[in-house]
């Protein structure tokens, strides 16, 4: 670095820059204000401003005859959320978010555990890149890949046919609720893609939590006579739980707000994100769209409060 060499010490000049910096040094608050003004203005005006405007609009209502927005304070739009159709959408989305979160945790746990405890040297890097690449790979491409897999003429049907298990798929698809004409238009398809797309978000927080568990603790548990299953349930899982909760913040929030996955792979039944999109777009019902958008905010607010109590933020 330049300053290490005394002859290279910068000459003291009384330029404008020096005078400005002297003022800033004597008044750190001024410096702080100068540093913070641009980002706070940007985020405060553009982001919080828009959010506030959205919130405000959710208290207006739409005149169903004229299609115009009625700028008067009302809770009617929120009441509309509780009509059977709309409440169904909320319930469906929350159920899907919960299922996807649970499945992600189950698949992510072994990967995170192996990476945290057993992977050394080159394997560590392989695991790291192996999680990072799918995490950052294009979201749409991932959905597209699943469209290729789940399509009727796609690879999954082909593989099952070769294994003579096609009857199994057909039997599954004929089930109510989870089935459909083909996997790519069934709730199961939506579920698989949600799990696939958000699962990498679950691995890293769990891995971070598991890395903090000392190996000696697990050995002690074994020495005291616990079977591996018992060690897992009574020692490892409670210690990893903050990590799981931290990961579930991502998977839950992302599933709540997504409207592209169910649109491309799934049935015609709506999710919250799709409802927001359709009400603001085709229907032009901005107040109802805004009210729908408030739902994930409220749910995530509650979720984050609980997560904070469980110490999940330390695992982030």
């Amino acid at each position: 670095m330049t300053i290490a060499d005394p002859r290279a010490a910068l000459p003291r000049t009384d330029s404008a820059a020096t005078r400005v910096s002297d003022v800033l040094w004597r008044r750190p608050t001024l410096l702080l204000v100068l540093l913070l003004t641009p980002p706070v203005l940007w985020l405060g005006i553009i982001y919080l401003g828009s959010l506030f405007a959205l919130l405000l609009q959710s208290f207006f209502s739409i005149d169903h005859f004229t299609g115009l927005i009625n700028y008067e304070f009302t809770l009617r739009t929120y009441a509309e959320l509780f009509t059977p159709t709309n409440f169904d959408i909320i319930l469906r989305t929350v159920t899907m978010a919960a299922c996807a979160t649970l499945a992600s945790a189950i698949i992510a746990f072994p990967i995170a555990y192996y990476a945290a405890r057993f992977a050394r040297g080159r394997w560590r890097a392989v695991f790291y890149i192996g999680v990072m690449m799918p995490l950052w790979s294009s979201y749409l491409v991932k959905i597209y890949a699943w469209k290729l897999i789940l399509a009727k003429e796609g690879i999954l049907t082909w593989a099952l046919e070769k294994l003579h298990l096609l009857w199994l798929l057909e039997a599954y698809l004929s089930l109510p609720v989870v089935g459909g004409n083909s996997l790519s238009v069934s709730p199961t398809g939506t579920f698989i893609v949600f799990v696939y797309v958000w699962m990498p978000f679950m691995i890293l927080p769990i891995q971070a939590a598991l890395e903090r568990v000392p190996a000696s603790m697990l050995e002690a548990s074994g020495d005291l006579g616990a079977r591996p299953g018992q060690t897992f349930r009574h020692v490892l899982l409670p210690l990893a739980l903050p990590g799981v909760v931290a990961g579930s913040i991502f998977t839950f929030s992302l599933t709540l707000g997504d409207y592209i996955i169910p649109q491309i792979i799934g049935t015609s039944r709506l999710f919250i994100g799709q409802a927001v999109y359709q009400h603001q777009g085709i229907a032009g019902n901005i107040p109802l769209a805004a009210a729908f958008a408030v739902v994930p905010i409220v749910i995530m607010g509650i979720y984050l409060t609980i997560a904070r109590r469980m110490g999940a933020f330390d695992a982030l």
Partner: protein, 268 residues
Amino acid sequence: MHSDRAPLSLKLAAGAGLLFLHLPILLIFVYAFTTEEKSFAWPPPGLTLKWFAVTWNRPDVWEALQLSVKVAAISTVIAMILGTLCAAAVSRTRFFGRETISLLVILPIALPGVVTGIALRSAFSLAEIPFSTWTIVLGHATFCVVIVYNNAVARFRRTSGSLIEASMDLGANMFQTLRYVILPNIGTALVVGGMLAFALSFDEVIVTTFTAGQQATLPIWMLEELVRPRERPVTNVVAMVVVLVTLLPILGAYYLTRGTDTVAGQGK
């Protein structure tokens, strides 16, 4: 000792999990070469390079790519400036409302994208701002700030404050200190933050659908093709190229920060 070796079941579960993550993406690479035009038939009846040439000559793909790169570049620059300023303020001093600032930065990425999207959309229509490249940039820069911020904060935390004081004691003014001491120290963190922000913006589609109007970034183009397929082989080729393009900044970010305690790219 038994605990130094992973049980076979764990190995299998971890391996299967990683395969589940990677196989679908690899599948895209095969489909880019298929001769089949109309359906997603597997296995591919034949392999061809023809679709690369077809894609190369498609002006709509080029336009979308151009817009995506432009938006990502501008958003990255804005996010780098705002994120660094914010990180410098938060890590240097304790002040009232510091937690609120961190929350404010994280919020755009913590709330579902559809919320950010519709909030911006309705704000644009209230303020009667017509859709343009800049409306897309407004959205992208807002959620990219947090990426740069996270990387810069982690680096500032490891940079000793006495280094800055030493520089000032040796007679450097604040701008010289910034140029010769602070920037060399946080340089790689900024580059990494910038690369990740670029990758995030390049791939973003949920907020963009609300702020783009009639314009098509590359992800919007892909979305159109997914909803109303026109020429599937071209989509396959674009999908493959997008995967390759997004991977470069990620590998670069990993390469630059490996061996440090906070490897970049953990949060998206």
